[in-house]
């Protein structure tokens, strides 16, 4: 009677036992090492396998947490307690991993026209499947709100302009909206990922943003100004450029040359708008908070506190690394402080800006020079994991003409630096100026010298340049301002020698007259001397400002960097994409790497180097940005003509009257008014946002 029951129970138990045995043996035989923390972390996850976190099940999420790809708060079901428990397993501060945040990349323009009549189901997925969608713009938002329906947290809602708006306080960064969007417009990224993004070939980029060396999202901040969201505009600029007050004043704005409105009308005054919001923040008396990623234990030494160094330090700090800036001058700013005169960039403004950057928790040590007070080796010993070289281009080129070392002869950068140091009280030595001053050269340094000399009360100030006005490399606005201020220009004149008086002081300048010949390699017509045209000019002060290069003398002072590659222009050789030098832990950008160039170029380089340093410090391969655009243009985004543009006058730059400004060092260019800024922001076509044909759409 009981026998069959007994047998069946025994049979099942033995099958079970065999299965168990085989499995336990298998688990030993087929053992694959797995971080024990994965199991521990998984224990604290909800076990619902809901996929709400964006990973395929709880075990995948646990793996991501242990690999540092997901924060301890990854589970959207289990809540804070599990996050704290997981943080304990991982030995980190709960919530210290950077939160993911959804952001709608489409900041909207006016709604584009419809391609065709659509009667299908109202989802973006379906709409996108039909020839990419209904709207004329192939990039923009379709506005059917798939992301809104995908969000379980009510963090996305339809904005008044027909594109979704993300409520950052509600967003948990689950990534559902990004998956739902068929056009890759709504994206879930950490702040670090956004800070490290560089222009790529398939990005939706307006021509101005393609041109800007710092790659600022120009249409976005102009739109924010238009909406009165000045703080938002400042944040947008700061994602790419920490020196907005400086750039707003001194940038020659190459972006405006590519402005699409400029094809049919005058270009939008992009830089004045930047200056307007930058000044707005400064004058509001309150600094907008700048968020930083959680601290890492990596340390970076930034050598050189100029725009490149400041930009690199700023981005590295925001990525959570510890940064120390070292500079040979007593104060921060580099060439923007010691090269750009007070009337273009007031020291007070620059100080406010650099203070804001140091406030993020960056250390600064001034008055120390590489190769003299410290070496790369000593920095490595102090525990710096990577070194950034942004030493700038401070060495004036020599004229190689007789008599250029006489009394009363200066070089451009040397003169400007000495004067600036005295003016801001760093150095007690005043620079003695003459009555009849001549500056040789046609670049911005030469213009800065003459405009400074005018303000110092020199009777007669002239520029001697061997080509014509058209070939001058200085910014046109600067040349015009110098002309207004009474500077005399001697074009087609090549200095031969400086003649001294009996005391060894410069007395005369001898030059040869030139005429323009055939174009040379740079495409400019080469000046050819006219024989027997030697002319003498009475002077008592001579400044040669014919260009400058980096001073790389420090590499010979120590063994560790003896092999650092230097180009034949004595700039530091670095990979153009990653800015890594041939010594893997050394990175270089700014004038030291490019040769004398723009502030905004150095800022862009600093950020690019920060990306590479961040990769290097995270033990990842230091690879170039995929599909990097790097100042190249997307050909199809450059138009021959633009339809439907009604010309609207560009807001002129307010200036201090000439008679007043040549007597003092007060800022010569002024900021535009709020009314003008709003008017100017309305001239922006918001290119590559939703529609190209702004004026006709608005009508």
């Amino acid at each position: 009677m009981f026998e069959p029951v007994f047998i069946s129970v025994m049979a099942l138990m033995s099958i079970g036992a065999i299965c168990g045995l085989v499995l336990s043996v298998a688990s030993k035989v087929f053992y694959v090492y797995e971080d024990p923390r994965i199991a521990e972390v998984e224990y604290f996850l909800s076990g619902a396998n809901c996929g709400g976190c964006g990973y395929a099940g709880c075990s995948a999420a646990a793996v991501a947490v242990v690999n540092g790809q997901a924060p301890p708060s990854v589970c959207i079901v289990a809540g804070m307690e599990s996050a704290i428990a997981i943080a304990e397993v991982m030995g980190v501060d709960p919530g210290s991993a950077e939160p993911l945040m959804s952001k709608n990349e489409c900041s909207g323009g006016n709604r584009a026209d419809d391609h065709f009549l659509y009667n299908g189901v109202n989802t973006c997925q379906a709409l996108a499947a039909l020839h990419g969608g209904q709207r004329i713009c192939s990039i923009g938002c379709l506005g059917q709100g798939d992301c809104i329906r995908a969000c379980h947290f009510n963090a996305v809602h339809m904005g008044p302009n027909g594109f979704p708006v993300v409520d950052e306080t509600m967003c948990v960064g689950c990534g559902a909206c990004e998956k739902a969007c068929p056009k890759n417009i709504i994206r879930v990224r950490t702040m670090s990922e956004r800070l490290l993004h560089f222009n790529q070939e398939d990005d939706a980029l307006a021509p101005c943003q393609q041109t800007c060396p710092a790659e600022i999202d120009i249409p976005r901040y102009i739109r924010q100004i238009k909406e009165g969201d000045y703080a938002g505009a400042v944040h947008t600029i700061r994602e790419r450029n920490p020196l907005l007050l400086t750039c707003g004043r001194v940038c020659p704005h190459p972006c405006e040359d590519m402005c699409r409105r400029g094809i049919e009308d005058e270009a939008v005054s992009i830089n004045q708008l930047k200056r307007f919001v930058a000044d707005y923040e400064m004058n509001s008396g309150q600094r907008l908070p700048i968020p930083c990623a959680p601290e890492t234990d990596k340390r970076v030494a930034v050598i050189g506190g100029g725009p490149a160094g400041l930009s690199c330090a700023y981005f590295l700090r925001r990525l959570g690394h510890h940064v120390k800036i070292l500079d040979m001058m007593p104060k921060l700013g580099g060439m923007t402080r010691y090269g750009i005169p007070e009337y273009r960039l007031p020291k007070e403004v620059l100080q406010w800006e650099t203070d804001g950057i140091l406030n993020l928790g960056i250390d600064f040590q001034g008055n120390v020079k590489l190769g003299e007070d410290y070496t790369v080796d000593s920095l490595r010993e102090e525990g710096f994991d990577a070194i950034f070289l942004g030493v700038g281009a401070w060495k004036d080129y020599k004229l190689r003409a007789e008599g250029e070392d006489l009394d009363g002869c200066f070089t451009g950068i040397d003169f400007l630096t000495r004067f600036a140091s005295h003016q801001q009280g760093d150095s007690p030595d005043d620079v003695a100026i003459g009555k009849k001053c001549v500056v040789i050269g046609g670049g911005n340094t030469a213009i800065d010298c003459v405009r400074t000399l005018i303000r110092l009360g020199a009777d007669e100030v002239s520029i001697v340049y061997r080509r014509t006005r058209k070939e001058m490399p200085a910014n046109m606005v600067e040349i015009e301002a110098a002309e207004h201020e009474g500077v005399q220009f001697h074009f087609l004149a090549a200095p031969v020698k400086a003649v001294s008086d009996e005391k060894g002081h410069v007395k005369q300048l001898e030059y040869l007259k030139m005429e323009l010949g055939e174009p040379d390699a740079s495409g400019r017509r080469r000046p050819v001397p006219i024989e027997g045209s030697e002319t003498l000019m009475d002077i008592d002060m001579l400044i040669t400002a014919i260009g400058q290069g980096p001073d790389v003398g420090f590499i010979e002072k120590e063994e560790a960097i003896k092999d650092l590659e230097i180009t034949r222009w004595s700039t530091i050789e670095a990979d153009p994409e990653t800015l890594q030098t041939n010594i893997p832990y050394i990175f270089a950008a700014g004038d030291a790497q490019t040769g004398a160039s723009l502030v905004v170029e150095a800022i862009g380089g600093g950020r690019r180097a920060a990306r590479a340093i961040h990769l290097y410090l995270s033990d990842e391969a230091v690879t170039p940005v995929p599909n990097s655009l790097r100042k190249r243009h997307i050909p199809e985004s450059l138009f021959e003509s633009v339809n439907g543009i009604a010309p609207i006058k560009r807001t002129p730059m307010p200036e201090m009257p000439v008679e007043e400004r040549i007597k003092c060092f007060d800022e010569a260019d002024l900021v535009i008014s709020e009314t003008d800024a709003l008017r100017e922001s309305n001239r922006c076509l918001n290119c590559c946002r939703i529609c190209y044909d702004k004026d006709s759409c608005a009508a």
Binding site: A11, L12, G20, V22, L23, A56, G120, V121, Q125, A126
Partner: protein, 191 residues
């Protein structure tokens, strides 16, 4: 040889496990929203079903029949299939990590899949020989994959259609599955 051909056709089309026998409906609806997932699931089912069909046939004929315990078939099969999937998962993880990564989360999902269990039971009920059981298991799995992938294709198209609100998502999927099932009934006369 001809018998095997008939067996294959019969298992894939005529007695399709999803559309004619209505087994394994949960993964049929759960993993058919995207083609990518459907293909992953289909591969995993082929892999597991062949293994399970062979092992359960051996368990039944060599163990249960000999001991006169055929009435324990259901519970024994469940035990064996569950252990088998676990074992295969461990084995793949160690030996063929690429395949493991490819099948991903679908392997453990099949642990309790009624299509797998159903096919094993059918093998026994129809008194197949070992070779027949092997071929039948494989064919059932191919039939499963075929139906799943077809259905995923249809569901991706349905996204573009205007579906009345009350019928959206799973409702329309059930209706569609019914229609596809009807079309499979056309194979009935073949064997």
């Amino acid at each position: 040889m001809g018998d095997y051909f008939v067996l294959i056709i019969s298992c894939i089309f005529v007695n399709n496990i999803l559309l004619a026998q209505f087994l394994g409906n949960c993964p049929f609806f759960g993993t058919s929203k995207k083609m990518e997932t459907a293909v992953g699931m289909a591969m995993a089912v082929i892999f597991v079903l062949v293994m399970a069909g062979v092992i359960t046939w051996m368990i039944y004929h060599f163990l249960l029949v000999n001991l006169g315990l055929t009435y324990l078939r259901t519970i024994a099969f469940i035990l064996v299939i569950a252990s088998l999937v676990q074992f295969v998962e461990m084995f793949l993880k160690k030996s063929i990590p690429a395949l493991y990564a490819g099948l991903g989360i679908f392997l453990p999902l099949i642990t309790t899949n009624c299509a797998v269990f159903g096919a094993c039971v059918i093998n026994i009920d129809k008194e197949y020989s070992f070779m027949q059981a092997l071929v039948a298991s494989f064919s059932y799995a191919v039939g499963f994959g075929l139906a799943l992938i077809l259905f995923a294709g249809v569901r991706e198209r349905i996204l573009l259609a205007r579906v009345p609100r009350p019928l959206q998502d799973t409702s329309i999927a059930l209706v569609t599955a019914g229609i596809i099932s009807l079309s499979f009934y056309a194979f009935k006369g073949m064997v």
